[in-house]
């Protein structure tokens, strides 16, 4: 190990930058690609930026984004290729894929940063090496329920989720939290790829549903919101991270007025360093307007930033950054990581027991075609109580 470290330092001293590969595998096309497309662009752009601005501590980080079309077999193949190649960390995407890979991740000790914020990713078993960039879906949904309970105590809520592990992830915790908050979860509906959600909405309305909480991607949610408006239903919509965002506003138009959304990222039109970075990179790498407006662009950037920071620190400490030793070194750095790339409303902090990066989130509301924050960054204590029992 030491010899390898010396060799690396020697190589560096010759001005020959060591190449480290970093792979992202996710849905650029296929299901949930309306998020994955922009996420991939975020990863690519931040990588290029980090290399150009010297944020990589003398290494050359080669980022590769692969389209696995939300198919777990492809994700697994890509992961194994990255493993064989000696990558020190891996950027994942889908909930199903992450869950499937957990035993393998545990066995080989690969730092894994997924785009899926499912709490099950970092719950035992096999959870030592998975790190979430921001708060989990369960925490987001419970935060929304808390907000609803404050606004209207005893409200009737329906959950509309994506028909996959990603969608079902927060449901058990949400049900427990609702009981604590005194609000009623009337129904949990998995939203099929429908052309028309009239039947579902009418059913909700008949049961007196006042709020719909969405754990889905923006496309189907936009259709449902438009249908609700068309039917003239007096229902308020609340979206978790992937269900909302500027994409939702673009797709739903003015039907989205008043929709509330919870996330940890800054909006591109806010006065924050993260927003500036998004605009700068988008301009530098010629990204179209819909990329700049999407919240998945900074999401991808954050994941890449976390991995690159850990790799940089491992390298600065003189440790190897490729192969079995590289994985171990980068993992060690992850366990004590603390930094703030400015993309989210809080710093990224990890410890052995805390595998959630940015611990804070905000609630925003759609006003006049834009999401504006209506709370300060906060954490959800109820989530900790419901999920961990403390």
């Amino acid at each position: 190990m030491r010899r390898l470290g010396v060799l690396i330092l020697l190589a560096l001293s010759f001005g020959f930058a060591q190449k480290v590969h970093l792979m992202w595998s996710g849905a650029i096309t296929g299901p949930t690609s309306d998020a994955g497309k922009y996420y991939a662009q975020g990863v690519e752009d931040y990588c290029k930026y980090a290399n150009e601005e010297g944020l990589t501590g003398g290494l050359t980080i080669v980022c590769e984004t692969r389209d696995d079309q939300y198919n777990n077999a492809n994700t697994q193949r890509n992961f194994e290729e990255a493993l064989e190649r000696g990558d020190p960390a891996f950027l994942g995407y889908s909930t199903g894929g992450t869950l499937q890979l957990k035993p393998l991740i545990q066995e080989v000790g690969m730092t894994y940063i997924p785009a899926s914020y499912h709490i099950g990713n970092i719950d035992p078993p096999n959870n030592d090496y998975v790190f979430l960039p921001i708060v989990s879906y369960s925490e987001q949904v419970i935060a929304l329920l808390e907000y609803i309970a404050k606004e209207k105590p005893g409200a009737k809520v329906a959950l509309a989720v994506h028909p996959s592990p990603f969608g079902r992830a927060p449901v058990p915790d949400a049900k427990k939290a609702a009981k604590e908050l005194g609000i009623e979860i009337v129904e949990v509906q998995e939203m099929a790829k429908g052309l028309d959600y009239t039947a579902t909405l009418k059913r909700f309305a008949n049961k007196g549903v006042e709020y719909i909480v969405y754990q889905n991607v923006a496309g189907p949610v936009a259709t449902m919101i438009k249908d609700a408006k068309r039917l003239g239903l007096n229902i308020k919509h609340a979206a978790a991270h992937y269900a909302g965002g500027p994409d939702l506003l673009r797709l739903a138009g003015d039907a989205a007025e008043g929709v509330i959304w919870v996330t940890s990222y800054y909006m591109p039109y806010e006065d924050a360093p993260g927003a500036e970075l998004v605009k700068k990179l988008g301009k530098r790498y010629n990204r179209p307007a819909d990329t700049l407006e999407s919240v998945h662009y900074p999401s991808g950037m954050l994941a890449a930033a976390i991995a690159i920071e850990a790799i940089k620190r491992a390298h600065a400490a003189g440790k190897p950054v490729t192969g079995d030793a590289g994985r171990a070194a980068v993992y060690a750095e992850m366990l004590k990581l603390g930094f703030d790339p400015g993309l989210a409303v809080g710093p990224v902090t990890y410890t052995k027991d805390d595998h959630v990066g940015v611990d804070h989130m905000r609630v925003l509301e759609a006003k006049g075609g834009k999401f504006v924050p209506i709370t300060e960054p906060f954490q959800s204590k109820l989530f900790r109580k419901v999920h961990y029992g403390k």
């Binding site: 497309k37 692969r66 777990n72 077999a73 064989e84 199903g96 869950l99 499937q100 890979l101 080989v108």
Partner: protein
């Protein structure tokens, strides 16, 4: 038989000779040589390549089953992936309590039962309508899994790590271990497939395919035969599914959905419908094509030939897949096995020309 080592033409004089599995000693030897080669092959390959080999073998099993149902019995089955899925989920449910050498056959039996059930409509409907019925079963299977909490609603069910004779299979030798297991199963079932035609049941399948009313007149029950065809195809698929579950370490519904059924049909056609060699050539060809397309697309991307919002790899894969199917159907409808057959016939008559 004039010469037990080389045929040099067709000198068969009895029915028994015609249906012999090996026509000459040379044929038998070459097959044993092939098996020996396959046994040592993994030592020359890197781990990801062994994984690809394992995949090809497992797909070949499923395609062998499809060749029984669609090739021999002529029943178009657009739901083979569902049978594979039945085997896989059975194995996943039983794996925590039973060793793998039990769950795999049981997975096969589950696939056979599923096949039998899907075969029931064949008592009343035929041809195109039967094909559409298998499509409906595939969709219903997907939905049922997606809504069964015991099957994690389609999410990942992790397979436990396997222990064999006290030896735990870890990441490093996972693919190698399963290579030998899969190879053994494939060799056994391929022999069974080859042997099928010699038996009464196999001939009944072909008779029913060619003209089921005539077969009925001859005393075979076409409905039961068709159900048997589905069940047998389902058995092969179930075994393939159980093995695939262990191989990929987890069972997710996406691996058993309609696009995969279509892939199996394509592999059967490209390989050559009804042929045993085709059941291997088809999957090998399509899997290697897929991987090469991925490499090609990544290379194109690195050259900067991709443009905004488009991922070349996601275009190249379905494009080449569709193109290959269409070109084979137009120019070589009997599949790759036809080329093999031509080569074999050349050697059969060697050193004479005809």
């Amino acid at each position: 038989m004039r010469n037990p080592w080389a045929e040099t033409g067709n000198y068969k004089t009895s029915y028994r000779q015609d249906t012999a599995i090996f026509a000459t000693y040379l044929e038998m030897l070459s097959l044993w040589a092939l098996v020996a080669l396959l046994l040592v092959l993994p030592f020359f390959l890197k781990r990801p390549q062994v994984f690809v080999l394992d995949l090809i073998l497992v797909y070949s099993l499923a395609v062998l089953g499809l060749n029984i149902t669609t090739g021999y019995a002529g029943l178009i089955n657009i739901g083979q992936a569902a049978f594979v899925g039945v085997g896989a989920y059975t194995a996943a449910l039983l794996a925590p309590s039973l060793p793998f050498w039990l769950t795999v056959p049981i997975g096969g039996l589950a696939g056979a039962v599923a096949g039998g059930i899907v075969g029931i409509p064949s008592l009343r409907i035929k041809h195109l309508y039967l094909a559409i019925a298998t499509l409906a079963f595939q969709i219903i299977f997907e939905w049922t899994v997606g809504h069964s909490t015991i099957l994690k609603q389609g999410g990942a069910i992790a397979m436990p790590r396997v222990e064999f004779l006290g030896y735990k299979v870890g990441y490093k030798n996972h693919y190698y271990f399963w290579y030998y297991v899969i190879l053994l199963v494939v060799v056994l079932l391929a022999f069974a497939f080859r042997n099928l035609l010699r038996t009464r049941y196999g001939r009944a399948l072909v008779a029913v395919r060619d003209n089921d009313r005539a077969a009925d007149a001859m005393g075979m029950h076409p409905g039961l035969t068709k159900i048997f065809a589905f069940a047998l195809g389902g058995f092969y698929a179930g075994v393939a599914g159980a093995l695939y579950a262990y191989l990929s370490r987890a069972v997710v519904i996406e691996d058993y959905m309609l696009p995969v059924s279509i892939k199996f049909l394509a592999m059967a056609i490209v390989g050559g419908l009804g042929s045993i060699v085709g059941s291997f050539l088809g999957p090998a060809f399509l899997v290697l094509l897929d991987l090469n397309m991925e490499d090609l697309a990544n290379w194109l991307k690195s050259l900067g030939l991709s443009y905004a919002g488009v991922d070349i790899a996601s275009a190249m894969r379905p494009l080449t897949f569709g193109l290959v199917i269409v070109l084979f159907l137009i120019f070589e409808p009997r599949g790759l096995a036809n080329w093999w057959r031509l080569v074999r016939n050349f050697f059969r008559n060697w050193p004479f020309k005809y």
